[in-house]
Structures are given as C-alpha cells and as structure tokens.
Amino acid sequence: MNLGFLVLLPFLGAVLPPLAERWRFSRPALSWTAAVLPLLALGVLWFHGRRVFSGETVRQFVPWMPDLGLNLAFRLDGLALLFSLLVLGIGLLIILYARYYLSANEKAGRFYAFLLLFMGAMMGVVTSNNLLLLVVFWELTSLSSFLLIGFWYHQTDARKGARMALAVTGMGGLALLAGAIVIGQVVGSYSLDDVLASGDLIRGHSLYPLILCLVLLGVFTKSAQFPFHFWLPHAMSAPTPVSAYLHSATMVKAGVFLLARLYPALSGTDLWFFLVTGAGLATLLWGAIWALFQHDLKGLLAYSTISHLGLITMLFGLNAQLAAVAGVFHIINHATFKASLFMAAGIIDHETGTRDMRRINGLWKYMPYTAVLAMVASAAMAGVPLLNGFLSKEMFFAETLDSGQLGSLSWILPLGAVLGGVFSVAYSARFIHDVFFNGEPIDLPKYPPHEPPRYMKVPVEVLVALCLAVGIFPSLTVAALLEVAARATLGGTLPEYHLAIWHGFNVPLMMSIVALVGGVLVYSQRLRLFALNDRLPSLDAKLVFEARMQSLARWAGTISSTLRNGSLQSYTAWLLMVVALVLVTSVTRELLAGGGREMLPLDGVALLCGGMLIVAAILTTALHRHRMTAIMCLSVVGLVVSLMFVRFSAPDLALTQLSVEVVTILLLMLAMYFLPVRTRRESSMPRIGRDVVLSVLVGGGVGILAFMMMTSGVDSISPFFLENAKPGGGGTNVVNVILVDFRGFDTFGEIIVLGIAGMGIYALLKDLELYSPQTDSLGRPWAKDAHPLILVTISRPLLPLALMISVYIFLRGHNLPGGGFIAGLITSVALVLQYVASGVAWMHRRIPGDYHPVVALGVLLAGFTGVGAWYFGHPFLTSAFWHVNWPVVGEFEVATAMLFDTGVFLTVVGATLLILANLGKLSLLDDKGGVR
C-alpha cells in the first residue's frame, strides 16, 4: 500500500466536514465524517508499522520536480512511526473531544477542515524523505495553525495571537528553507537518506555553522525556544482542542522532531552543544518559572509546555546517545500528559466559564472525576514516581550529571535541571491545589459547575491511562516503540539503557526528591512570590511585538508609496533609466569587443528610404500633439520598415508588416475619433530635457548594440532549419515551416495570445459609452457623404479578388512566401475595407453574428491538429505530410501543418475583425439617427 496515503488521507479528509456541514449533518455524524479518513490513515500506519517494528524502513518515491531535487519521497522509520502515531492518535482523540467542546452554533465543519489540513501537513513533515518536501509541509503546518489559532476570528486576541504565531514560525520556516538548500548544496542531494548518511561531510564543511544556525532558527521558532518562545502563550487564544493538539503533541513538537530527524547529520559538535543545550536550558528555566506566575489555566500550561520543550531540546543538545533516547522518551510522555491536561483545562473552562485560577477553586466537590484525571496528569507533569513523566525526568537528571562538556562548570547543567524540576513541581502543585481545593469558587460565570458529557472525558481517560501504564509497566508498553524510534533517531545504533521505575538510591533519585520537596516549598510561598511579581514592571510580549510589526509595516508602506506614486510616467522613466544604465555599461564593453564582418555597400535608394524613415519617425515625435499628422508620419515609418524587409530577404515579413500597417493605421484613426484631437503642451522643460536624454541614451545604446551585432560574425542554429525544412517539415519556405512545424507550439501560444487580446477588447468595449464629437477640432461638421460612391464601387469587386489572393498566399505558404498569418491579414484588410466603404450596418446584414466564435474555432482547430499527433503516438504538434497526385494540378503536397495553418488563419481573421468591427460599431452606436 502506498505510503503517500498517510499524508494524503487527512488532506482528503479536510474536504468532508465542510460538505457534511453544508448538507446539514448532525454534530455526531459530522464528527464521524472528520474521523473516518484519519482512522483509515491509522489503518495504513498499522499495515506498515509491523514492518517498521521488524527493523525495516518503508520508503515511497514519486518524482515531482527531479531537476530541482524536489520529489514526493516518503519514509517511515521508527521516529516517523512514533510521530505518526502521536499525530493521528491524539488527532482522533481531539476530534472526539471537539465534538463536545464546540458549541452548537459554531462552524464545526470549518474547524474540522482546518484541523485535518493541519494533520495532513504534520504527517507530511514527519514522513518526508526529502528536505525540500519537508520544508513545504513545515510551512503548511504554520499556515494551517494560523487558521486554527485564529478560528475565533471575531476576537482581537485570537487574530493577534494567530498573526504572531504565523510571523514567528513562518520566519523560522524561511530560515529552515535556506538551511535545507545549503545542506542540499553541501551534500549534493535533498534526499534525507543521503543527508543522514553524510553527517561527517556536513560537520566538516566550512558552511556547517551557517547550516546549523539556519536549521536551528527554524527549530527554535517552531518549538518556542527562548528567545522565540513568546508566541506560544498568545496562541492560547485558540479553542482548547487546538491548544491540546498543536501545543502539546504536534506543532511545537515539529521543531524537536527536526532535531531528532537531523540528529545524525548535525549533532556531535561543540557548536551544536552550546547552541542547542544553551537554548534548551534557558527555555527550561524561563518557562518553568513563569508558568508558576500565570493566573490563566491555559497560560500555565503554555509556559509549562515551553519549559518541557526546553528540556527535550536540552537533551538532544547534550551530544550523548542516551540523552537522545531520553529526549525521544520525553516527547512521548509530554505529548500524553500535556494533551490530557489541556483537555482537562478545556473541560474546566467549558463548565465554569472562566480560566482564571484566582476564581476557580475547590472544584473537587463539583467534578471529582475530572479532578482525578487532571491530578494524575499533573503529577506526571511534575515527575511523580509511578507515572511516565518520572521515568524520562530521571533519565534527564542522569544525563545532565554525565555531561562533562562544560569542564569545571559542568555543575551548571544538573543545577539548572533541578531548579527547573523545582518550579515544574511548584506549578503542577498549583494546577492541582489551586483549582480543585483551596476553598470555594469565586464568582464563576457558570455556577454550579458539573461533570462534562460522558464521552468528552474519554480522550482524557485514554491519555491518563497511558500515563499510568507507561509509568508502571514501561517495558511492557512503550519499550518497543521507544526502541525503534530511538534507533531511527540515532541512525541505527542504540546505547544500553534500562527502563525501570527503581534504579536504586542514586543521585538522579536524590535530585527528583529535591525537586519534589523544593517544589512544594516554593508553592507554599506562592503568595509572597506573586506579590513580588506584581511589583516587577510588566512587559507584554504582544504589545512589543505588535508595535514592532506596525513600525515595520509603516516603514514598508513609506518605501512602497515613495516608489509607487501612481504615476505611469514615473514608473516608465525608472524602468527606462535602468535600461539606459544596462545599455551604457554593456555597450561600452561591446565597443571593446569589436566587429569583423564585412559590411554591405550603401546605395542611393537605401539612403533615400532610410532618410525618409528617419525624418518621419522624428516628425511623429515632434508633431505628436497634432495627432492626425503624427499618424500620417507613422504610416510612412511602417511602409519603409516593410520595404526594409523586402530589401533584406524577408518577403514574409514584408507582406505581414504591410497588412498590419493598414489595420494599425485604421485602428488609430478610429481611436482618434473619440480621443481629443490634439495633445496639450504640458511637460515642463526639465521633464522634456530628461526624456530627451533618456531617449538618446536608450536609442543610441540600442543602435550601437545593433551595429555591433550586425558587424560581428554569426554562429546560428539556423542551418538545422534550412537542412530539415524539406525532409522534416515537407515545405521549402523555411520561415513558414518554422512557424507551423518546428516552433509550432510557440505559434500555438501566440494565436492564443491573439485570441485573448481580441476577447479582452470585446469585454472592454462592452457597454462603453463615449462622447463622440459632432464636429472636428476646428468646429467644422463631418462630411455628409459617409460612404463615397467611388470607394463603394471600387471596393466591392475588390473583395473576391482579395480573397482569391489570400487563398493563393495561404496555399503556397508552405513552399513560397505566404502562409496563414499573411493570408489572414489580407482577408482581414479586404473585409475591413468593406466596413470602411459600405458601413457597419451594411456589413452586418451580410455577415451576421460576432467574430469571437471564429477566434475560438481557429485556436481549437490548431489545438486539435496538435493533439491529433498524439493519436498516432507522436509528440504534440508533430506534423505529417503526403504527396498526392491530383489529376490536373499534378503532384501536390498535403501536410497536417496546413490544417494548423488554417487555425492560424481563422484566429488572425477573427481577432482582427473582432477588434476593428467592434470599435467601428462604437461609432455607430452614438449617432442613432443614421448609419455613418
């Protein structure tokens, strides 16, 4: 069975709940639709899990973008199996829990969709066998957690918390991406298999410090390590099921997962020890101490989570195999007791209406069953014997003692560990004592509180039972899973270790006892500590963060409003200045390179025509405010350009340019009818000066570049086309064969562009109302004779002649100058002439209907010709040709390219007429009196 299903199923599952909501399923049924695909995924996991337990690593590989090294590669080893179990298992419990937690009027479908989206992303992170793919899923977890934290988006806190979490973890994700790319460059592969096997290469590389810093930035932001921990408490504005899922078992564990995943590749250096252990120790202490001072139930759990994540991070940083085993073990334990505690907190919040521990007291009397569950879980959190937290904490204490990497300062680590333990006991004690005992509840919004619905407690019961089972019978329960997971983390080797409750009287046990006793002592002094805390200046991370973000946004806003001032002229000027700069620098380099090709002799005709073009172009510019004159000059330019094509052996281009010239000038004349006839003089002298300098720089630069190019030798790929046009494409006109055969796909794209332009124009002209002047600019009325008799008389017989020529040009196009583009343009010109001479109404009576179906037909015909090649097992647009012997004509060549060219022809005709006829109709609309 495909391993990818593990990831795919939750993503697919995200679609079902919103549908169920739309179809008005009841809440239980809706929860089932959310649960069914994760359950299936759990089945897939069980299927592969047996192989993993027997020591195998299951792999799946589907190429995605192999050139970039990005592939859909998945692997399931012990570590991935452990995390998959956490993600899917706890996820299912959360689905059950949320069914009761969310009130009836909340959009549970949306909630489950986000939750499953997150689950899929998380499964992707833990099973990826490709670093880039892992980063993709990593960012997906950030995005989906943003949606989840901001689920109650009507609350400011939720929005701000979500934004903060996204900003911090997203930023870390970018750093991680950079780190992954550097690793890929060093190792030469993004595959995790290769990366994990290249630990020595990475550690020995000069880029190792950079890699480590980038990866750790990703890890520390995600796992809320000091100094990036501040987002986690603010993410507590999420619904409690989200906190229980994301902030105990999954999202924040993604960071430590990555530490474990890349452990064989990155660990083992002093830098690793100082960075990872340092951050872990700081986080452990910071989180543990501040957890005690939180009055919010979830705030306490959030800081406690930070502290435990610090503990795990520190374990991985110690560079000892046994410590890494302890780290993996604590990941399991923390996930179970913290998820159950969050759920218990959610139950209390749900039943009392508040999370303030100064008001919630003495709940033992009202909800004893929940109280027992919560107390067991808290005891596990504190590290009380017979519970799972005790086992991993003992291992932690032992490891801090064994680490000698700080030399004579090595005592700092165990001291810090015990201090963290003391506060961890103190806040756990507060969770138990303050909430369930300590007098009567004060002023609860919901009174009296009572036990929650039966099945809301089930997820908590399951997890608490696990805490107990692991704590009492570790070797029967967790040992096998821990062994495969730890083996995968360490890259195959496993140190000797022994999971047992009783190791005899030793130093770690003493440390545990000191922590328990010290914790209770600290808790008993809590009121004095709170008073002390109240006197400290308060620093709200959210305010600081918001202020920073806002100043950043203002700063960005200033920059963009300076650059984006709403003036097209200034954008164009900036763009052209850059062009001028590039030209000036490149041209000076080119000048040094020099030419070498022999030049053609200059003759009188060329000089005369060239002179005409230059004068006309300058006149167009100089007289541009007199628009009619400018159009006249422009048409001279176009004509001379087509003559240049004739002269320099490009008859196809000359024909095209000539026909396009006609339609362009017509188009501009039509436009001028509606636009002001003259342009006002409004540029200031400095502006004109700047523009002249720019034009001279850009024009001169391009001219010199052109000269350099023409006088230098050529090394072209064109001999290929010249040699293969006849045997490969069945035509002798190489330009046309390139268009319809060699580069047919380009041409296909180009006629689509043409079609899109036509459609865009059609849409823009729809319902357009324009002021149309009744007189010309000098106040003279328009001529009454809109359709001069001579023009009408001459134009009509011209049409069949023009069409015949166009057929001729089309048919010979494959072998002699011509083809679909040119034939299409000639047909268009012929038809447009009829519009001009006889009027839109006259034409409309003869050619009813619109032109856009013609465009579509052309594009489809060309497309189907291309697809047709597939039918014969060739690539898209492969052409075929046959020699046919026609009775009268003689031997004749038929190519499928001809069919393609017909598509081109139809598109050109359709688009050109669509543009001109619709513009022409506009002038018809405004004088309803008669036909112009």
Binding site: A650, T656, V660, T679, D691, L694, V698, V734, L764, L816
Partner: protein
C-alpha cells in the same frame, strides 16, 4: 548599409522612448508602435543583413537566417493585437474617467477647451 540600419533602429527606439514618456494615451500608443518597429528590426537584424538570399530551399545559394524572421513575423501580429488592446484601454479610460491622461487624472479645464475646439 549596416550603419544606416543601426541609425534607423536608434531613431525608432529613441523616438519611441520619448513618446512613451508622455502624459497622454495617444502619444504613448504612437511611441509603443515606434518601439515595436525598432524592436522587431533589432531581432530581425540578429540574422545579419543579406541581399536577395530568401530563406526558401533551392532558391538561394546562401540563404538568410530564417529563425529571426519567424520570430518577428508573429511579433508583428502580436504587436498589432497589443496596440489594439492599448487603444481600447485608452478609450475605456476616456469613457470612464473623461480624461486621456495616462494616470487617469481628471482634467476638467482641458476637456472644456477640447469641446470648444479652442486649441
């Protein structure tokens, strides 16, 4: 000859650049048309200048480079489509905003003068 063609391209591009920087839509359209002439010629001459050497198999001893020609041919047609689109965009802007300024600035005084035909 090459120098003449280079000067032609320089003038076309230079005039185009100047017009593109103007404030009203019509000169900008003219400028873009001139710029596309210049650009088309520039691409075309990358096949170098050859007299009477049409790229048809069997007609020329030393045929000219057909590839830039094929590129330019479609560029001409697409250039037309683009010009047409810009023209219509300019018309739409004129219709919606009553101004032909490229930034859509309303220009009441100018409009009145236009209507009277006084300038």
């Amino acid at each position: 000859m090459e120098a003449l063609v280079a000067i032609i391209i320089a003038v076309l591009v230079g005039s185009g650049v100047y017009l593109v920087l103007r404030a009203r839509t019509f000169p900008v359209i003219l400028g873009l048309t001139l710029l596309s002439y210049g650009a088309n010629l520039f691409v075309f001459i990358s096949g170098r200048l050859k007299l009477d050497q049409v790229a048809v198999v069997g007609q020329s001893a030393d045929p000219t480079d057909p590839l830039p020609q094929a590129l330019v041919l479609t560029a001409i047609v697409i250039g037309f489509a683009m010009t047409a689109f810009l023209v219509v965009l300019a018309l739409r802007a004129q219709g919606e905003l009553g101004s032909d300024h490229v930034d859509g600035q309303r220009d009441e005084l100018y409009g009145e003068q236009q209507n009277k035909g006084s300038r």
